[in-house]
Each structure stands twice: as C-alpha cells, then as structure tokens.
Amino acid sequence: MPYPTEFKYNKEHEWIKADGKNATVGITNYAQESLGDIVFVELPKVGSEIVAGKTFGSVESVKAVSDLYAPASGAVTEVNGELATAPEKINKEAHAAWLIKISLKNPSELNSLLSAQDYEKFVSEEAGN
C-alpha cells in the first residue's frame, strides 16, 4: 500500500500531516494491520500537551494494547470523536481516520521524521524479520 507522501512517519508507526502551525496525527496502515480489529482508542483531552517521542494514548485490539507515541510536540486542539463509537474506522482507512489534531510547538521536529519512502522501506524490513 502506498504511504501518502504528504505525511511524515515515526518508527512507532504514527503518521503526521503538517499544515502550517497545525498538524493531524494518526496510525499507519501497517499498524492497524498488526493490531487486528481495533476495539478501543484512548486519546488525550483537548488542551493537554503531548511531547515528541513520549506516549499520548493507546490503541486496543482484543488481544493487545499498543501505546501511541507522539511524532511531534504540541497542544491537542481536536480529538476525533467518531472513534469513541466506531474505532473500526481505523482498520478501514488508517490514513484517513485521524486521532488528534495539534498545534505544533516546534515544527522543525518534523525534519527528523521518516518520509513516505523511508517509512515504506523501514516497514518492509520489519515485516521481513
């Protein structure tokens, strides 16, 4: 599956799409595939701060829980309310089912993230193991 080129990626399988000072965050298709049917998503409250590299929530399937790692730092401005009742949207369309929107604290952090090409390479190496 092609990974959107306008997104950036971290090695914990989150994607981030920057839009000036704001950004949208989600998990990648590889992540949702590995998790299986998602049953619950735990997300931070609007107004809370997330820090690059630290956990900001979790995604649960029946048999596993995965922590969500922030690709960049910022304040949470919006949370995807649909996921509370329909977490399966992430399985259907991981790259469209966003989790949170943030106002970026330090936009230059995105420079150290992976491009779509690099992420795809990273994923195929991991999958190969």
Binding site: D37, V39, F40, E60, S61, V62, K63, P87, E88
Partner: protein, 496 residues
C-alpha cells in the same frame, strides 16, 4: 472429521436460557421458618432507607434452578472429564476428600473472630500446613494470608520493599525475565517499582552475563520462576543468587512451577529469599472456574519480621494464638487470615500423599511432560532443546507455513475431546504451545493426546481450512470477541 477421534463423541446436550428468561412472579425456591421474635414494621425502622423493590431479580422454583445449573455444567470441560494440558496451571486431580473435610461443621462454620479457646482446630490446621510448606520449600517463615498467586507476589514484594527500606534505601527497580507471567510486572508496578526486563539467553534461561551487567544498587530484587515458563530448570541458579546477594538485592521466586520441584529440591536451598506458592496449582485445591486460589508466601529468617500480621504462634501453655504485635510487619493484605478453606484442602492433599506420594507426584509430572515432548518432537517445532521438567513449550512455526497458528490448533484440539494447551505464552516463543500434563494423566490419556496432536498436524498439511474453522463440534463456534470488546454487553436487560 478427517481422522477418527477415539476420545470423544458428539452427544445431545440440553439448551438453557438465562435464568431471568425463566423467571415469573409467584414462583419461589425458598422457605423461611416462622419468626420466633416479634415481626417489625420495616418503614418505621428504616424510614427513607427502606428498599421497596428488588427490580429484575428472578423468581424461579427449585427444580428450575437444579436444571438450570446442571445443564450449564454440561457445557463445561473439566479435569474430572479429561486432561487440561495448560502450561503453568498444574491442572491436577482435585481430591474429593478435600471437599468433605472442608465442610466439617466446626471448620465450615468457624467465625474468624471467635475466641481463640474455640479456634484451636483452625489454628492447628494453619500451623501444620505452614510447617509442611516450609519443609517443602526449605524456607524459614511463612504467611498464609494472600488470596492467590498474584496477591502472594504483591505480599512478597511488599516485604522486599520493607526490607530494603530498613537497610536505608527501598531501591527503584525489579528485574523480570521476558518469559515471566504477566502478574509479575503488574505486581511490581503496584508496589511502586519500575520494571526492568531481562532478556533470556539462547537457551531460554537467565543470561547470567546480562544479569551481572544489569544488577546494581538500584535493583531491589529479581523475580524468577524456576523452572521457568519454558519448563527448564535454571541451572545457574546459584550464580544468579550470588549476583543478586552480592549487591544487596533479593531473589524472589514465583512458585507457580513447584510441581516440578516438590520432594526433589527446595528453593530455600538454592538461594531463594522469598517466594509464593499457588495452592490451587501444586496443592490440588480446585480451580472452580477461575478461583478461589491461595498464595502463601514463604521467606528466609531475615524477612520474618516483615510478614503480614497476624502470625500464628504457640503460647507458653502450648495453645495456639494469633500474634498482632509485629512492629515491622508490612501490615495486612486482606481481612481475616487468608483462604482458610484452601488451607484445609491443601493440607488434606499433603496428608494423603506423605513424603513418598509427594516425591512420586513430582516424578510423574516430569515423566509425563517428557513423554509428551518425545511424542510430539519433530511434528511441532521445539524452539529450545534444553531438558524439560514438568512442562514443554513448542511453537507453531512448522504449521504457520500453512497459515495455521497455535490458537487454531488449540481450537481443533477441542474437537478431539481435549481442552487446549496454553497458547501464545510465554512471550519469548512466538506462536507458543505450552503443555503441562501434570502427574494426574495416565499413559492412556497422554497417548490419546499425542495421537490427537499428530492428527491435527497432518490435517494442517492436508486440509488446513478444517483446522482454521475449528472447533466444529461445540455448542457454540468461535465467538465474536471483537464485538464483545467494542460494544460490551455486560448484563442482561429485559426487552422493553
């Protein structure tokens, strides 16, 4: 079914709805004797605290209740029906004399607060059991208070912390091997410790060099299961204990796998400072669908002052009593004294065995696991070639090539009349099949198990879909766990 199974056959069994669906006003299963004191006006006595309505609580007759639960029981697998090859669960025979003695009136109706004068029976049971468990473990002091294994772990770690504190520094970390049961790290977190994972070496055992590197004065203890969850005895246990002790750390042993050790070796002899036992595993108390258990914690002498209170003591006049004056105690981990009903059963089991029975039990447990290992070697992948004690771990590597995983094989095993083994644990073996037969299995039952597993392996090659869609013979097929987790329905509600 492709292969003829000799162990089980399909049979009609009764359906049964929820009890609420059979309820109807005016039916009753109870009858109270008339009052021998004056009746009361409830409204007058309770006022606004009076409850008028018990909602949807059922009204059914006695025979309906008997049929209800009897029918439900026929839907369950149980040790009384056949083998449970569940790893680290030690699903052994639950002797019935245990049930009889625990129901003797003075024991069944004993109130925990009754005067010590009329509690000597219970106290003696606790004392004799304690002495037996100390002899079996090679430790010096014991508490019977914890209600289950995880509770015992909590108690043990509380004592570790109290001890370290008494030495001036409670320390910050507990080392836990990646092969450990989930209760280990969960417990460490509850006691306020950080968990540091220890990677197992290529033989599935503690990597002594890594341990040496990881052990420092911020580590309070190492939580070890021995034999480990691969069923392998930690042969370097002496070195492991030394490394911990040299830097002021303690060695905690999870006693879940004691069924491989009783009568053959004692943890207290190989350097363990504190450990818990699972009476519902090693000591035959019944699993009852998930509990109750009992998790006594045994310690070396230097930890004795920290035991939960009260402790059982012998008074100068020879009678037994509870001692509460224990200034260094970690406190209580539950009300009263522990799951006394389980003490009675565990002691009855110990008395029924005696020293020879206990040793023979352990020998048979290890013999059986090795027999199964021999029977399935080459058919299923054996990730670690280290000697097996009472449980053996295979992986689904060979079957995964055909898209069949451990859980699928487990579900197919049900069609052969067995309960599945433990799937997907320990975590260090991807696609694990963890098998512990226990000593309670005859050669006949094990041969049937081996035959079933071999048959399934053939099915995986010839007709994998059959295995993937299993089980085929149960009342319900695989249940939608995703829906159950997404939109939990956790109680019955009347249809309106």
């Amino acid at each position: 079914m492709k292969h003829v199974t000799r162990k089980a056959t399909r049979h009609v069994n009764q359906n049964e709805a929820l009890i609420f669906e059979k309820s109807s006003p005016g039916k009753a299963a109870w009858r109270l004797p008339p009052l021998d004191v004056p009746d009361v006006d409830t409204s007058k006595l309770l006022g606004s605290a009076e409850r008028k309505d018990l909602g949807q609580m059922p009204e059914v007759s006695e025979i309906e209740i008997i049929r209800h639960f009897t029918r439900l029981s026929t839907w369950n697998y149980a040790i009384d029906l056949g083998m449970y090859p569940l790893g680290s669960c030690t699903m052994k025979y639950n002797p019935r004399v245990n049930e009889v003695v625990s129901r003797l009136e003075g024991l069944a109706n004993g109130h925990p607060y009754q005067p010590e004068r009329v509690s000597q029976g219970a106290l003696r049971i606790m004392k004799v059991l304690s002495e037996c468990l100390l002899e079996i473990t090679g430790m010096d002091a014991i508490t019977l208070q914890p209600a289950a294994g995880a509770h015992g772990e909590l108690t043990g770690l509380l004592m570790v912390r109290a001890y370290q504190q008494s030495k001036g520094n409670p320390r910050k970390k507990i080392l836990i091997p990646d092969s450990a049961h989930g209760t280990n790290p969960a417990t460490a977190a509850m006691v306020g410790y950080d968990v540091e994972k220890m990677q197992s070496n290529a033989r599935g055992m503690v990597d002594v060099a890594a341990l040496t590197a990881q052990m420092n004065d911020e580590v309070a203890a190492l939580m070890l299961t021995n034999p480990n969850t691969l069923g392998v005895f930690e042969q370097e246990i002496h070195k492991i204990a030394e490394i911990m002790h040299a830097k002021g750390g303690l060695l905690y042993m999870d006693g879940a796998n004691m069924n491989a050790l009783v009568g053959k070796v004692r943890p207290g002899d190989f350097g363990v400072d504190v450990m818990h036992l699972n009476l519902h595993k090693t000591f035959s108390t019944p699993h009852g669908g998930g509990g109750p258990g009992s998790g006594p914690v045994a310690v070396k002498k230097f930890l004795e002052p920290f035991l939960p209170k009260p402790v059982v003591i012998t008074k100068p006049d020879g009678t037994l009593a509870f001692e509460y004056n224990r200034p260094q105690s970690v406190g209580r981990v539950r009300a009263f004294y522990g799951n006394f009903g389980m003490f009675v059963r565990a002691l009855a089991y110990t008395l029924a065995n005696g020293p020879d029975g206990l040793r023979q039990t352990t020998e048979d447990a290890v013999l059986n696991a090795n027999y199964i290992r021999k029977g399935l070697e080459g058919i299923y992948d054996l990730p670690y070639s280290t000697p097996t004690m009472h449980e053996v771990v295979f992986s689904d590597k060979l079957q995964a090539r055909r898209g069949v995983k451990t859980m699928d094989i487990a579900k197919r095993l049900i069609d052969y009349g067995f309960h599945p083994y433990t799937t997907a644990f320990p975590l260090i073996v991807p696609g694990a099949l963890m098998i512990e037969p226990t000593e309670s299995e005859s050669k006949e039952e094990m041969d049937l198990f081996i035959q079933a597993m071999r048959s399934i392996a053939e099915e995986v090659e010839e007709d994998p879909q059959l295995v993937l869609d299993a089980p085929h013979s149960t009342r319900v097929s695989r249940l939608d766990e995703v829906a159950a987790a997404r939109k939990p329905v956790l109680r019955w509600k009347p249809a309106n």
